[in-house]
C-alpha cells in the first residue's frame, strides 16, 4: 500500500517547507506589563514574597467583607400560558432575505430568541440551516446598528408627523403624475406584494421594481424566453446521476444552496443498501464549495466559463444531429468533450446548471437540458421557484426615469442600492424629490435618503413567503419589537389609508387566495393554525411549462462578445459567509472563516499560486505577511491583499462581493473594497479586465487552521499518518474498507487488522471478549460499556464545508467572537472548525473538508497533563472541561493532538467585573498601530447589554484565562436524558441532537449512544469506512469519520 496521497494545508507544506512562525501559543500570557517588568528586572527576596502574601490576604479579606449582592427574582404579573421560565419554546418561521429561503425554528427562552435551527418539516430546506439565517439572529440585538426611531434628514421625527408629511406628499406626487418608485430586493412574500398593489391602487403612479444585489436577471430572462415563466424550475440534485455545473456554486451561494445541498448529499450517500452515487463535474474558474465537492473539477479561465457551455452544446448537438453554433476556436476543450460524452451517456438522468447571469448562456443551458431530456426528472416545472425575481431592465428604466426627473419619490424596501448600485444610483437619487428607506439598520442607503422609516427585524415581524408554487411559509414574531420601529408593510398600508394591522392583512390575503386553492383544510382557522405551527404548507399541484426554442446562434455570438477575455481577468464571486454583503456587518459571519482560504475578517484577491510566484507576489511564509496590490478595474482602483489559492486558473483573480461597506455602524468589520462599483448590469457579465498591477505593501491576515493544522503538530503529518481518508467509488465497490488503512510500526495495514492485531492486545485487556468494548480495549472499557457512551459519526462524503455547523455551535455554546487581530494571533475560539486539505495538483487540487472538534478521546492525552484535574473523563465517555477549576496552564491544549482546545486570552464576552481584563496594549495590530484588544473589535459582538440577550442561559459564559472546547453539547445531552426520565421511558435517539448536527443541511453528522447498537451513530461506527483520526496513537477518539468516496473515472486525473 505504498504511494499514499499527499495532503497539504498550505502551499509551503506541499513543498515540504516547515512553517516555523505560527504557533498556537506563540506569546506569553499577557500579564500586566508593569508587573511583569517588576518581576523580571528586580530581585525579589523573602521579604517581597511576604509583602505580596500579606497584601494578597488583606485584599482577599477586604473583598470578602463586601456584601453579597441582592438578587431579584421577578415573575410575570400574568404569566403567558405557553411560557414556563427555563423551558425553551420553538416557533416556526422563515429567513427570506434577498430571496434566500430557509424554513427555520426559532428557539426562544423567556421571550427572547437565542437560537435558529432548521425546520425538519420543511419540504424545501428539510431541516438544514444556512449560516446566514443563524447569523441574522445577532443583527436583531445589534443595538448600535439598529435604527431605533423614524428620522428625517438625519434628525428624529415622530411617526405621526412623518405619516402626515408622507401621505400629503405622496398624494401630491400621484396627482402631478410623477412616479413613486418602490425599489426592493426579491420579495418572496405574496402579502407584501399585495400591500404594494394596494398602495399602487391609491397612488396610481406607483411602480414596483425588484433587483437583486447579485443579479440573476439574465437567467430569469432566459427562462422566460424558453418557458414563458420568469422563474426558475425546481432543481432535484438527488435525482441526477450526473451533475455538470458550470460556475454555479449550488452548494454555497447559488439560488437556494441549503435546499440543493440536502438533495445533493442525498444522491451521494453510500451504505450497504445504497451502492450508487451521483457524479459531479464542476467547470469553473474561482474555486467554490461546489467545486470542492466535485468528483472532477475542470478549471477554465473566467472568460471561458460561458464558452464552455457553447462547447458542450456543440458536441451534444452533433450527437443529436442538430446544427452547431459558432464557437471560439482558440479555446482548448478536450476535457469538455469528455464531459459531453458522459452527459450524452446519462441522457435524461443528468443535470446541467450554469451560474452565469448572461441570458444567452442560460438559453444555451436550457437547450442542453432540453436536448438531454432532463426536464421532468432532475429539472421540473411542476413547481416554479421564485428565489430571485430582480429585473435589471426595469431597474435600468427606473434609473433613466430618475435621471430624467420623472420620479417623485423612491421608497427602498429591504435593499441597499446606494451600496450595491454604486454612484450611478446616487446621482439618479439626487434628482428625485425625496427618498425613503425602510431599513431596520444603518446602511449606506439609510444614510443617504430623506426619510428613514425603520422596519422590524424579521424575528419581530409577521410575514409570509412563497418560495415555490404551492409552498407557502409563515413568518411569526418571536420577540416584541425592541425599538420604536414599524413594519414596512404596515407603513405602506397606513399611507394607503388602510388601518388594518399587517397580521390581519396577511390572514385576509391567505383566506382570499389560499383557502380555495387547496383541499387539505376545510376551514381557514385550521389552515392558518397549521401554517403557523408547521411554518410551511405544501399544496398538491401539477403544472408544467413547455420549451420554446430560441435563436441560439444569436446567443452564441452574444456570449462570445461578452466573454471579456484578457491577460489578467478579474472575476467577482460571492462568499458563503458574506454573501451579497447584507450581513457583512455581522461579526458571526465575519469570523466564520472562508471554507477554502480559511481567512476571516479580510477582503482579498485570490490568485493562482503559479501566477503569484511568477509575479513575485507570494506571501512571506515565515511571517505570513501578504502582499497588498492595487489594480485598475474599469474606472476603479482596488487595493487589497492578494492570497494564493490552489485551483485558481493562471491569469485570473477572484474578488468577493460584500466588502467595502461605508457609512455603516460597524464599518471596521467590513473593510476592503466594494466590488459592486465595477458591476455593469447591462453587460450581464461579472468578468472584467484588470491592469496596472502594483504592490502597495504588506498586510497580515487573520487565517485559521494553519497555526494548529494537524499536519504541523499532528505527530508526523501526511507522510506517515492519514488524517483524512478517501477512496474512489470503483475501489469502494470492490472493498468497502478501501483506503481505510493504518500505518503502524512503519507498516500499512487495513484498520480492521490493526484493531485485531494491536489495539486490543497492545493497550487493552486480551481476555476482553465483550464485543461492545473489544475494538478499544482501553483500561476503562468496562465502565464505559455500562450506561451511555456518547459518540459522533461524520460522513466526509456528505460534508460540503458550508460552515452552518460552526455558526450553530458558536451560538449554542456562547462561543465568543474575538475579532481580526485576535485571529491573526491564532486566538480564534471556534470549538468546531472545518479543516480543509488539498491534494493533488497545485493548479487544480482536490479538496477535502473535515469537521474537527474535541474527539472526546477515551484515552485522552489532555486529561492526564492537567495539574488541577480540570479536565477529566465521565463514565459516559465525555471529555469534561470544568471551567471553574481551570487555572489556565494550557498544558492540555499543548498535549491535544487534534488542536481543538481554545484558550480565553481575554475577557472576550465582557462578562468580567474588571473591565481592564478586556485587554491590554500588547502587540501592534499588524498594520503598525498599537491597539488594545477590546470594544472596537470584539465589543461588536457580545459586549453590549442587548447583545447578551442572545446568550444561551444553559451554558456558562467563560471568563478570561480558562481553556474551553467542544462539550458534545452536554447541555442538550442532559436535557434529553431528563426528558426521557420525566416520561419514564428509555432514551430515544431523537431526544438528543447536537447543535452542529441539527444545523447540518446534508445530515453529515450523527450523534448518539454508541453502546446502543441500534442507533444511527452505532451504524456509522460499524461501517467499514469508519475511522478515527490518528487513532494509531491510541487516543480512542469518540468521533468516527467515514472515508470520503469520490465517483472518479480513470481519465479524471490525467
Amino acid at each position: 500500500m505504498a504511494n499514499k496521497k499527499q495532503y497539504w494545508l498550505t502551499l509551503e507544506a506541499k513543498k515540504g517547507e516547515v512553517n516555523e512562525n505560527p504557533k498556537e501559543f506563540g506569546s506569553d500570557l499577557p500579564v500586566l506589563n508593569s508587573l511583569s517588568e517588576t518581576i523580571s528586572t528586580q530581585k525579589s527576596g523573602r521579604r517581597d514574597f511576604l509583602k505580596m502574601l500579606g497584601f494578597g490576604v488583606t485584599a482577599a479579606a477586604v473583598a470578602a467583607a463586601c456584601e453579597m449582592p441582592v438578587r431579584k427574582s421577578i415573575p410575570y404579573v400574568i404569566k403567558p400560558e405557553e411560557i414556563t421560565p427555563g423551558v425553551p419554546n420553538y416557533y416556526a418561521s422563515a429567513y427570506t432575505k434577498g430571496g434566500y429561503y430557509n424554513s427555520i425554528l426559532v428557539k426562544t427562552r423567556e421571550g427572547r430568541p437565542i437560537m435558529v435551527e432548521g425546520n425538519p418539516d420543511s419540504s424545501v430546506t428539510s431541516g438544514g440551516v444556512n449560516p446566514k439565517s443563524i447569523g441574522a439572529l445577532l443583527s436583531l440585538y445589534d443595538e448600535a446598528a439598529r435604527i431605533k426611531a423614524p428620522m428625517k434628514n438625519g434628525a428624529a421625527i415622530s411617526w405621526t408627523d412623518l405619516d402626515a408629511e408622507i401621505s400629503t406628499s405622496l398624494a401630491a406626487l400621484a396627482a402631478s403624475g410623477k412616479t413613486i418608485a418602490i425599489l426592493s430586493s426579491t420579495i418572496l412574500s405574496p402579502s407584501t406584494k399585495k400591500v404594494i398593489e394596494k398602495f399602487a391602487s391609491v397612488y396610481p403612479t406607483t411602480k414596483h421594481v425588484q433587483f437583486d444585489a447579485i443579479s440573476y436577471s439574465g437567467a430569469l430572462d432566459a427562462n422566460e424566453e424558453s418557458f414563458g415563466k420568469r422563474a426558475f424550475p425546481e432543481y432535484h440534485f438527488d435525482k441526477a446521476e450526473l451533475i455538470v455545473s458550470v460556475a454555479a456554486d449550488f452548494l454555497g451561494t447559488w439560488l437556494s444552496p441549503t435546499e440543493f445541498a440536502a438533495d445533493y448529499a442525498q444522491g451521494r450517500k453510500l451504505s450497504a443498501d445504497k451502492k450508487s452515487m451521483s457524479r459531479h463535474i464542476q467547470i469553473e474558474s474561482i474555486p467554490t464549495l461546489a467545486g470542492a465537492s466535485a468528483d472532477l473539477r475542470i478549471p477554465v479561465k473566467a472568460s471561458e466559463e460561458d464558452l464552455a457551455v457553447i462547447k458542450l452544446y456543440n458536441i451534444l448537438a452533433k450527437k443529436a444531429g442538430l446544427s452547431s453554433l459558432s464557437d471560439n476556436a482558440s479555446f482548448d476543450a478536450s476535457k469538455i468533450e469528455a464531459v459531453a460524452e458522459e452527459l450524452w451517456a446519462a441522457k435524461g438522468k443528468s443535470l446541467v446548471v450554469s451560474g452565469s447571469n448572461n441570458k444567452a448562456t442560460q438559453l444555451v443551458v436550457n437547450a442542453i437540458n432540453e436536448l438531454l431530456g432532463n426536464y421532468g426528472s432532475a429539472l421540473s416545472w411542476e413547481r416554479a421557484t421564485y428565489y430571485r425575481q430582480g429585473d435589471d431592465k426595469e431597474l435600468g428604466a427606473l434609473l433613466a426615469d430618475m435621471n430624467a426627473s420623472k420620479v417623485g419619490a423612491v421608497l427602498v424596501l429591504d435593499a441597499n442600492p446606494v451600496y450595491t448600485l454604486g454612484s450611478a444610483f446616487e446621482t439618479a437619487l439626487s434628482k428625485v424629490e425625496w427618498s425613503l428607506d425602510f431599513s431596520e439598520r444603518r446602511t449606506e442607503t439609510s444614510e443617504f435618503v430623506t426619510y428613514v422609516c425603520p422596519t422590524n427585524h424579521f424575528l419581530e415581524s409577521w410575514d409570509d413567503a412563497q418560495a415555490k408554487d404551492g409552498v407557502y411559509a409563515t413568518i411569526q414574531p418571536t420577540i416584541s419589537p425592541l425599538f420604536a420601529t414599524r413594519q414596512a408593510q404596515e407603513s405602506l398600508l397606513l399611507w394607503a389609508g388602510d388601518n388594518t394591522s399587517y397580521y390581519d392583512f396577511i390572514r385576509a390575503n391567505w383566506k382570499e387566495s389560499l383557502l380555495g386553492a387547496q383541499n387539505k383544510f376545510s376551514g381557514f382557522e385550521a389552515l392558518w393554525t397549521n401554517a403557523v405551527h408547521d411554518g410551511e404548507l405544501t399544496f398538491d399541484l401539477t403544472s408544467s411549462a413547455s420549451f420554446v426554442a430560441s435563436d441560439l446562434n444569436a446567443a452564441a455570438s452574444a456570449i462570445a462578445k461578452a466573454s471579456n477575455a484578457s491577460e489578467l481577468e478579474i472575476k467577482l464571486y460571492e462568499k458563503v459567509q458574506i454573501g451579497d454583503g447584507t450581513l457583512s456587518d455581522n461579526p458571526w459571519m465575519q469570523e466564520l472563516s472562508d471554507p477554502l482560504t480559511r481567512i476571516t475578517w479580510d477582503d482579498y484577491f485570490v490568485a493562482s499560486p503559479k501566477w503569484m510566484e511568477e509575479k513575485g507576489l507570494m506571501h512571506n511564509s515565515k511571517n505570513r505577511e501578504y502582499q497588498v496590490v492595487s489594480l485598475n478595474v474599469g474606472d476603479q482602483v482596488y487595493t487589497l491583499p492578494i492570497v494564493a489559492l490552489a485551483g485558481v486558473p493562471y491569469g485570473v483573480l477572484g474578488m468577493a462581493y460584500g466588502y467595502g461597506r461605508r457609512n455603516t455602524t460597524h464599518e471596521e468589520y467590513s473593510r476592503g473594497e466594494n466590488a459592486y462599483k465595477v458591476v455593469d448590469r447591462a453587460s450581464s457579465s461579472v468578468v472584467y479586465a484588470a491592469s496596472g498591477l502594483a504592490v502597495q505593501g504588506g498586510h497580515k491576515i487573520g487565517i485559521v487552521q494553519q497555526e494548529y493544522g494537524l499536519e504541523h503538530f499532528g505527530l508526523g503529518g501526511e507522510k506517515t499518518r492519514k488524517i483524512v481518508k478517501e477512496t474512489t467509488l470503483t475501489a469502494w465497490m470492490e472493498d468497502a474498507a478501501s483506503e481505510n488503512d493504518i500505518n503502524f510500526g512503519h507498516e500499512w495495514m487495513p484498520r480492521k487488522d490493526w484493531i485485531e492485531k494491536y489495539s486490543n492486545s497492545l493497550y487493552g485487556d486480551e481476555t476482553n471478549d465483550n464485543p461492545a468494548t473489544k475494538e478499544y480495549g482501553g483500561a476503562h472499557a468496562g465502565v464505559l460499556a455500562n450506561g451511555h457512551h456518547w459518540g459522533m459519526g461524520i460522513d466526509l462524503n456528505s460534508c460540503i464545508g458550508c460552515g452552518a455547523c460552526v455558526v450553530a455551535c458558536n451560538v449554542e455554546n456562547n462561543v465568543p467572537i474575538v475579532g481580526r487581530n485576535e485571529v491573526r494571533r491564532a486566538h480564534d475560539m471556534n470549538w468546531l472548525r472545518i479543516d480543509k486539505y488539498h491534494t493533488g495538483d497545485e493548479e487544480n487540487p482536490q479538496v477535502i473538508f473535515q469537521p474537527m472538534m474535541c474527539q472526546h478521546c477515551d484515552n485522552a492525552p489532555c486529561e492526564n497533563v492537567c495539574p488541577v484535574a480540570a479536565t477529566n473523563h465521565s463514565t459516559e465517555g465525555l471529555n469534561q472541561m470544568t471551567y471553574n477549576r481551570c487555572i489556565g496552564t494550557r498544558y492540555c491544549a499543548n498535549n491535544c493532538p487534534y488542536k481543538v482546545r481554545r484558550f480565553n486570552w481575554f475577557d472576550y464576552q465582557g462578562a468580567d467585573s474588571f473591565s481592564s481584563n478586556k485587554g491590554f496594549a500588547l502587540d501592534n495590530d499588524f498594520d503598525g498601530n498599537q491597539t488594545e484588544y477590546g470594544d472596537k473589535e470584539a465589543g461588536l459582538g457580545l459586549h453590549s447589554p442587548m447583545a447578551k440577550m442572545v446568550l444561551n442561559p444553559d451554558v456558562t459564559v467563560r471568563s478570561r484565562g480558562v481553556i474551553e472546547k467542544c462539550s458534545f453539547c452536554v447541555q442538550r445531552i442532559q436535557l434529553g436524558k431528563l426528558e426521557a426520565k420525566k416520561a419514564n421511558r428509555a432514551l430515544n435517539e431523537k431526544d438528543i441532537t447536537t447543535a452542529c448536527q441539527s444545523a447540518c443541511p446534508t445530515n453529515a453528522i450523527t450523534f448518539g449512544d454508541t453502546n446502543n447498537k441500534e442507533t444511527s451513530v452505532s451504524k456509522v461506527w460499524a461501517d467499514p469506512r469508519a475511522f478515527g483520526v490518528i487513532e494509531e496513537i491510541h487516543t480512542l477518539p469518540s468521533v468516527r469519520y467515514l472515508t470520503k468516496v469520490r465517483n472518479q473515472k480513470d481519465g479524471d486525473l490525467a
Binding site: 438578587r71 421577578i74 469534561q880 444553559d954 421511558r985
Partner: protein, 467 residues
C-alpha cells in the same frame, strides 16, 4: 438538658462515663406516637389526589372557595335518595360533572351552588369511584395519618431528633483526656521529684507550666492549626448564604399557606417539575385563591392589598382597574378595602397610610421578590431533575418550609453538600430510563451491589453540573 458540668470540670471519670452512657441512650430514644389504625395506602393515594385536584379550592376542615370536604360524604349520604340514586352515587356524579347534577334539579346540590355564590366547580371526569373514595377518605381522616409520614430533613450526620450532636461529644472526650493527661503529668512529675529527693539529688528549679517551652510550642502550634483551619473554612464559605432570610416585598407566609392550609408546593411553584427553575408564581396564581380570600389571618388585608395593587385589581368591585384610572380613585378603593381591617372606631391612621403607600407603590408592576437561593453562574441546577425524575421532596433541600413564617435558606448550597447527597441517594431504577444501566441491574440481581446511588450513575462527575 443543661450541661452545667462543663463549667465545673472537676467530676470524676466515673461521672463522665455515666453521662456518656445516658447521652447514647438518649440518642436512641425516639418519640413514638400513638397511631390510630388507618389504611395508610388509601390515605396516601387520597392525599395525593386531594393535593393535585382539590386543594386549590377546598380544605378538609375549613370553608374556602368551596366547602370543607371533611364529612362531605356523611352530608351527602344524609341527604338521602333522589331520583332513585343514593346520596353517595350523587356525590360521585357531583365530583365528576357537577353541572349535570345541577341541571337534574338535585336540591342539596342547588343549595350548595347558591351558598357558594354560584361559583362553578371544575369538572373531574377522569376520577374513578375509587379515586373519589380515596379523596374523601383522606378528607375525613386528614388529621390522622399526617404525622406518620413526616419528612426527614438532613442537616448533618445525626438524625434531627438527636439533641446531642456528635461534635460536642468529641469535644468533651478531648477535654476529658486532656485533663487525664494533665493529671498524669503532674503525678509523674511529683513522683520524679519524690524519687530524686529520696535519692538525695539536687532538684531542678520548678518551672511553672506557663513558662514550659514545650507547652508554649504546643499551644502556638495548635493556634496556628486552628487559625489555618478556620481561615480555609471561612474562605470556602465565601459567598454562601445559609440562613439568608431577606425581607420580601410582600410578607408572604409559607407557614400559613403550605403548613396550615397544606397547599401543595407545586401549586404555586409549578415550574419545579418541568423546568430548571421552580418559578416564583406570577400574581395571577395568587389571585386564584385571593379573589375570594380577601383577608389574611395574620396580617389581615395589609399584604393582600399589595397583590391586588400589583395586578391592578379592585377588590371592592371584583373588577380590574381601568388603564386610565386616576391615582386618587385607586387609592380610594384600596383605602376602602384596607379600612375593613379596622373597627370603625379604631382606625390607626398612621398605619393605614403606611400600608396604603406600600401597596400603591406596587401598583401595576411585577413584584420584585428577593431571590434567596443563589447558585454561582457556573453551576447548572435543574429542579425537574430532582423533583420530577428524582422524586426528592422539596423539604430535603429547602427545609421545613411549611413551618417558616419567613423563608430562610436552609441548606449551605455548597458543592460538598450537593456531592454528599449524590453519594448517599439511591436511584429509583424502576424508571424505565435507567434500563440503559444493564450492568447495575445484573449486579443488583446477583447481589454484587445492594443499591445504586446517584454517584454510581455519574452524579458526581464535573459535567453533570458545570457546563
Amino acid at each position: 438538658m443543661t450541661f452545667s458540668w462543663l463549667q465545673a470540670p472537676k467530676h470524676s471519670v466515673r461521672s463522665i462515663s455515666s453521662l456518656i452512657l445516658l447521652l447514647i441512650l438518649s440518642t436512641f430514644h425516639l418519640s413514638l406516637q400513638a397511631q390510630e389504625s388507618i389504611d395508610q395506602a388509601k390515605w396516601d393515594a387520597g392525599k395525593a389526589l386531594f393535593k393535585s385536584q382539590c386543594q386549590s379550592c377546598h380544605l378538609p376542615d375549613k370553608k374556602m372557595t368551596g366547602p370543607a370536604l371533611q364529612n362531605a360524604t356523611l352530608r351527602w349520604e344524609a341527604d338521602g335518595e333522589h331520583q332513585g340514586k343514593s346520596g353517595k352515587e350523587w356525590l360521585y356524579e357531583w365530583v365528576r360533572n357537577n353541572s349535570s347534577v345541577l341541571e337534574s334539579g338535585h336540591p342539596y346540590a342547588n343549595n350548595l351552588y347558591q351558598e357558594y355564590g354560584k361559583s362553578v366547580m371544575s369538572l373531574f371526569p377522569q376520577l374513578s369511584n375509587e379515586d373519589i373514595d380515596g379523596i374523601f377518605y383522606y378528607a375525613n381522616n386528614y388529621d390522622k395519618g399526617a404525622k406518620a409520614v413526616g419528612v426527614t430533613v438532613p442537616g448533618g450526620d445525626a438524625p434531627v431528633s438527636s439533641t446531642f450532636p456528635m461534635k460536642t461529644f468529641l469535644w468533651i472526650l478531648i477535654l476529658g483526656l486532656g485533663l487525664v493527661a494533665f493529671i498524669l503529668y503532674r503525678v509523674f512529675n511529683s513522683l520524679k521529684r519524690l524519687a530524686a529527693a529520696s535519692e538525695g539529688k539536687a532538684l531542678p528549679p520548678a518551672v511553672p507550666f506557663w513558662k514550659n517551652k514545650k507547652l508554649i510550642t504546643l499551644v502556638v502550634l495548635a493556634a496556628v492549626v486552628f487559625l489555618a483551619y478556620t481561615t480555609a473554612g471561612s474562605a470556602m464559605a465565601l459567598g454562601r448564604q445559609q440562613s439568608y432570610a431577606p425581607t420580601q416585598p410582600i410578607q408572604y407566609n409559607h407557614q400559613v399557606h403550605a403548613g396550615k392550609y397544606q397547599i401543595d408546593c407545586q401549586y404555586c411553584h409549578s415550574g419545579a417539575s418541568e423546568s430548571k427553575h421552580s418559578n416564583i408564581p406570577s400574581i395571577n396564581v395568587c389571585m386564584n385563591c385571593h379573589k375570594n380570600v380577601q383577608a389574611g389571618q395574620i396580617n389581615g388585608r395589609k399584604e393582600i392589598a399589595k397583590i391586588y395593587s400589583a395586578i391592578a385589581y379592585n377588590p371592592n368591585s371584583g373588577t380590574y382597574f381601568a388603564e386610565d384610572a386616576s391615582d386618587e380613585d385607586i387609592k380610594a378603593e384600596l383605602t376602602a378595602y384596607l379600612m375593613q381591617d379596622y373597627e370603625s372606631s379604631a382606625v390607626n391612621q398612621e398605619e393605614l397610610d403606611a400600608t396604603l403607600a406600600a401597596a400603591f407603590e406596587m401598583y401595576d408592576k411585577p413584584v420584585e421578590w428577593v431571590r434567596i437561593h443563589n447558585l454561582p453562574d457556573h453551576v447548572y441546577f435543574n429542579h425537574a431533575q430532582h423533583v420530577n425524575a428524582g422524586k426528592v421532596e422539596c423539604q430535603t433541600c429547602h427545609g421545613n418550609i411549611q413551618e417558616m413564617d419567613v423563608v430562610a435558606q436552609h441548606s449551605p448550597l455548597s458543592m460538598g453538600w450537593c456531592i454528599n447527597c449524590h453519594r448517599q441517594t439511591e436511584v429509583d431504577l424502576g424508571n424505565n430510563y435507567y434500563q440503559v444501566y444493564e450492568k447495575f441491574h445484573e449486579d443488583l440481581k446477583s447481589g454484587k451491589m445492594d443499591k445504586v446511588t446517584v454517584e454510581d450513575i455519574g452524579g458526581t462527575e464535573c459535567q453533570k453540573c458545570h457546563y
